[in-house]
Symmetry: C2
Subunit: 156 residues, 2 copies
């Protein structure tokens, strides 16, 4: 059975959000995602959250807020996604992401823009961002650009 | 290969949102979800959207807004999730959902409450709700109850 995983919306002291892009063989595409990963045996989800954050971004977790446990696909995947919001500490000096992984720091407005264009295309992680909003951590309604406030479809 | 699927945030003329609950063998639990389903061969995603809406809720689609195409799990599932927002027409008189399926009409505040408690536990569909917000269709920031606006975790 597939282990549970975590996905983490992270805000840095300067208000930016780290996101990662790598090649996904399953979908044969590069996609932006939040820091995320599988639980190791015996690991608590909050421990996985702090570990993945450190390994993927070089950031330490200041405060960790659990946003609940969910499913990515109730029809096909039985494992749970544990969602977190983290206020990060300062970055580790000289940190480099793993080869093949691009690390980027974006504003909330830029993040919402990447979601709207489909460049950030992992809808389960988009759900974690709404969970962070429902917990009062971010407000994506302020990131709504006039360009997409009308009815113009982005295409499917 | 698994076909693509659609997931649909639907608003009725009275402002309520239909959601469905059924038993999911994969996760061995009852979960609330938006109307959703797999594309049939040769079907356009917008056609699937209208068909699933009719079959699952008895509602006809007034206007259909595509919110983009995404992935539920870039590590494991290659199929795409096509997200839609629909302004529904009036319900078909005497419509009954399929046996084993519970159909409920909720306000946006109730919907966000079910997400926060984990009763609506499909995080990919939660992502579709944020997409609807980013397209200016709903504003979940107004549905934030004071109870969850503090730091109290819901548990994982």
């Amino acid at each position: 059975m597939l282990p549970d995983y975590v996905a983490v919306v992270v805000r840095m002291p300067d208000g930016l959000f780290p996101i990662l892009r790598q090649y996904s063989p399953a979908v044969e595409a590069y996609t932006w995602e939040f820091p995320a990963g599988l639980l190791e045996p015996g690991e608590d989800p909050a421990e996985t959250c702090a570990r993945e954050l450190r390994e993927e971004t070089g950031l330490s977790a200041g405060s960790i807020t659990p946003l609940g446990s969910f499913y990515a696909d109730t029809g096909r995947l039985a494992n749970r996604l544990h969602a977190f919001f983290v206020e990060a500490g300062n970055p580790e000096p000289g940190f480099l992401p793993e080869p093949g992984v691009e690390l980027k720091l974006v504003t909330l407005e830029e993040l919402c823009g990447l979601i709207q264009t489909g460049a950030f295309s992992l809808v389960s992680h988009i759900g974690v961002l709404l969970l962070a909003q429902l917990h009062g951590k971010v407000d994506c309604s302020r990131a709504l650009s006039p360009k997409v406030a009308d009815d113009s479809p982005l295409g499917t």
